[in-house]
């Protein structure tokens, strides 16, 4: 095998998994760096900062960010984090690497499509990043790209010309890639399981990947369609999202009859399921890690499966909670509100079962376990603010304030990132053959855990004061004078949190060269990926979480192990 076919255009699921992981790690570093720059500008809007000027000689001439630069960083930060980090690692990264191993398949069902899917994702990332360097810079319409702002071209502001077009193209490519990935996952799980691996013996990670793939299959198709319509409104003069009589920047536009709300419906029909695409695989990882490190079976395995299926299904019925105050019929708001809180029920089931899993266990508090426990903590925190936002009467105040920013960062950003970190600490030995440093891991963990609470809880307070989000400067309003101190605190906490991530990167690199060699099954786990590589197909005889089975010879029984007494 040549270098190219082994490391670049490889069809091997493990290589592709690592490729996704590395791509997402790059994206995460970029996205975090952007957030730090944003915080810096928000806190010191007038300060002359050399770094800004070096990076953007025009848009930050003299070291002061223009509003459009801030908004473009915000848009890129959100897009990168949601699509290229949270949608990429848990499914594309971990999923590709571990799904075939866990169900005893040789590879994914369609290895070439798998490779194509990765390269389309990588291309999408490049296209997105190229928006930074084209004329006008990156778009400033936010990751939700609401028209008319996003549909009328550069008269709506710098970045809304070429930059915005690149954004749409990038997202369309990403959709295509995700669809290919979803087809692959579904087929692999349904058709490639080894003997004895019935669906209800699968580890919860596999269930999570299955449900996620199903959601992706439906959701990304809709985003893809919406993206095409938006592109046509921009480039071909159609009026899907543009009503008659628009006057933008003193120019009268010759469009008629479209509806800006149509985009919001299509976008959120994708967008809400998307948050489950981001979090479900993480739930799978957390369930597994909690079980392994408690030496106890997952509490309520079947309930966990049904909860995921319920979340996947209900996830398609709640998109309107992003549109309570959009001008949509107030009657639908009430319906969406009921459905939104209904989806809280399966989420609560999961939380109970996580607590039930660790209750009465023997908790080994390794770093992977700490991340999983912290996931439960932030999931509850973010879920509770979600209950408030799910009520239209309350959203009527909180919509588009920092309360929302705090809420979604905790439940989507932080929770998903914690599960990714849990997965990384848990699976790294399998991926690289070496252990990560527990000491570095713990320091990184504790600072991050405190850091995210320090960053994102105060954002709720700013939201309660009424602080709107997507403001590049808080100096224009009297009432925002009061939150400046709060924002300064948030920024300092964000700096610390971002900085300590370098420790994690260092840990990864250090481990590659110096990490302790890992055995085949360093955590004494039961699932098939921890078996030594073999060419014989495994025959599965039991479920995925047989820990501390009474009468067994040790405190775990691997899935292919008959009761070894």
């Amino acid at each position: 095998m040549s270098f190219l076919s082994r490391y670049i255009f490889s069809t091997n699921h493990k290589t592709i998994g690592i490729q996704y992981f590395v791509l997402a790690l790059t994206a995460a570093l970029l996205g975090t760096a952007l957030s730090v720059l944003m915080r810096l500008h928000l806190t010191y809007p007038e300060a002359k900062i050399r770094l800004f000027e070096i990076l953007w000689p025009n848009a930050a001439a003299g070291g002061v960010m223009t509003p459009e630069l801030y908004l473009s960083l915000m848009t890129m930060h959100g897009t990168i984090m949601v699509f290229f980090v949270l949608t990429t690692v848990p499914q594309g990264g971990f999923g590709n690497f571990f799904l075939p191993l866990q169900i005893g398949a040789e590879d994914m069902a369609f290895p070439r499509i798998n490779m194509l899917s990765f390269w389309a994702t990588a291309l999408a990332f490049l296209v997105l990043c190229s928006a930074f360097v084209v004329e006008g810079g990156a778009p400033l319409a936010g990751w939700t790209a609401y028209p008319p702002l996003s549909a009328v071209g550069s008269i709506a502001g710098p970045g809304m010309g070429k930059g915005m077009t690149l954004w749409v193209v990038s997202i369309a490519l990403f959709c295509a890639a995700s669809l290919m990935g979803a087809i692959n996952f579904i087929t692999t799980i349904l058709e490639m399981r080894t003997r004895g691996m019935s669906l209800f013996r699968m580890p919860l990670t596999c269930w999570a990947w299955l449900v996620t793939a199903l959601i992706s299959l439906f959701a990304f198709a809709v985003l893809f369609a919406a993206g095409i319509l938006l592109l046509l409104d921009r480039e071909a003069g159609t009026s899907f999202f543009l009503p008659a009589g628009l006057v933008i920047n003193d120019r009268i536009l010759d469009r008629k009859g479209g509806s800006p709300l149509l985009w919001q419906h299509l976008f959120w029909f994708f967008g809400h399921p998307e948050v489950y695409i981001a979090i479900l695989p993480g739930m799978g990882v957390v369930s597994t890690v909690l079980s392994v490190f408690s030496r106890k079976p997952v509490f309520g395995y079947r309930a966990m499966v049904w909860a995921m299926l319920a979340i996947g299904f209900l996830g398609f019925l709640v998109w309107g909670h992003h549109m309570f105050i959009s001008g949509m019929s107030p009657y639908s708001s009430l319906a969406f509100s009921v459905l939104t809180l209904a989806i809280g029920v399966p989420s609560a089931v999961k939380t109970f079962n996580w607590l039930g899993t660790i209750l009465g266990g023997r908790l080994h508090l390794e770093t992977a376990m700490l991340w999983a426990l912290a996931f439960v903590s932030v999931f509850v925190t973010g879920g509770l603010s979600g209950i408030a936002l799910g009520q239209p009467a309350l959203d009527m105040y909180f919509h588009d304030t920092y309360f929302v920013v705090g809420h979604f960062h905790i439940i989507m950003g932080v929770a998903a990132v914690f599960s990714i970190l849990a997965g990384t600490f848990y699976w790294w030995p399998k991926m690289t053959g070496r252990m990560l440093s527990e000491t570095l891991g713990r320091v990184h963990f504790y600072v991050t855990f405190l850091g995210v609470y320090a960053v994102f809880i105060p954002m709720h307070f700013a939201g309660i004061v009424g602080n709107p989000r997507r403001y590049s400067d808080f100096g224009q309003f009297e009432f925002l004078k009061d939150v400046q101190g709060l924002h300064k605190f948030i920024t300092h906490a964000a700096f610390l949190t971002a900085a300590v991530q370098l420790l994690f990167i260092f840990n990864l690199i250090w481990s590659l060269y110096r990490g302790k060699k890992a055995g085949d099954n360093p955590w004494n786990a039961t699932t098939l990926e921890w078996l030594p590589p073999s060419h014989q197909p495994h025959i599965v005889v039991r479920g995925a979480y047989d820990y501390s089975v009474p009468g067994a010879r040790r405190d775990f029984l691997m899935q292919n192990e008959s009761n070894g007494q």
Partner: protein, 190 residues
């Protein structure tokens, strides 16, 4: 490859295809719901005229589907020669359909219906071009299989790709009927 593994591969191919159908349904479903909303949102809705060529195109595509199906069964029964002929015919018919569509688009443009001239036209072009793009994918697969057939790589035991492609082709036929109904019947319905 042993028999069991080959069977698994065949099943996987079908499952993958069904999953692909599901996304296509969502994709065209999204267009449809956008169209319904867009039509309801304003009073400027206009349908698209119906050139006669469309009915011919529809016939061509249907015939192509029927011929492909016959070819598929011939391959299954080991009648490779007939398969080659019929499959080639289905492929040519498929190309005729796309050529016919191109003429329809051109005629409509000459009649002043552009993508940005009115609401019905916009959805019409989006829907039919998206259909044609999916069709082109299937057509490339047909040509590829034709090449494989002539280099004697297909047979009753190696026919999954043909089965899959035929099924996909039928799906596109049904999708076409749906679009026809959507644009010419529903779209022009007062």
């Amino acid at each position: 490859m042993n028999v069991a593994a080959a069977g698994a591969r065949r099943r996987a191919s079908f499952t993958g295809l069904y999953a692909f159908f599901a996304t296509m349904i969502m994709f065209f479903g999204a267009f449809t719901s956008a169209m319904v909303v867009r039509r309801g949102a304003s009073k400027d809705w206009q349908g698209v005229p119906t050139p006669n060529l469309l009915w011919i195109n529809t016939g061509v595509l249907a015939l192509s589907s029927v011929v492909a199906e016959r070819a598929r069964r011939d391959l299954q029964n080991g009648n490779r020669r007939l398969f080659n002929t019929l499959w080639a015919a289905a492929t040519v018919l498929g190309a005729c359909f796309v050529a016919g569509q191109i003429i329809v688009w051109r005629d409509l443009q000459q009649a002043g219906v552009y993508i940005n001239s009115h609401s019905g036209g916009a959805f019409f072009y989006v829907g039919t071009v998206a259909h044609a793009a999916h069709l082109a994918g299937g057509w490339i697969a047909m040509v590829y299989l034709l090449v494989r057939a002539f280099s004697l790589q297909l047979g009753p035991g190696r026919r999954t790709a043909v089965d899959i492609t035929t099924l996909y082709w039928h799906f596109l036929g049904v999708l076409w009927l749906y679009l026809l109904w959507l644009f010419w019947f529903w779209g022009n319905w007062e």
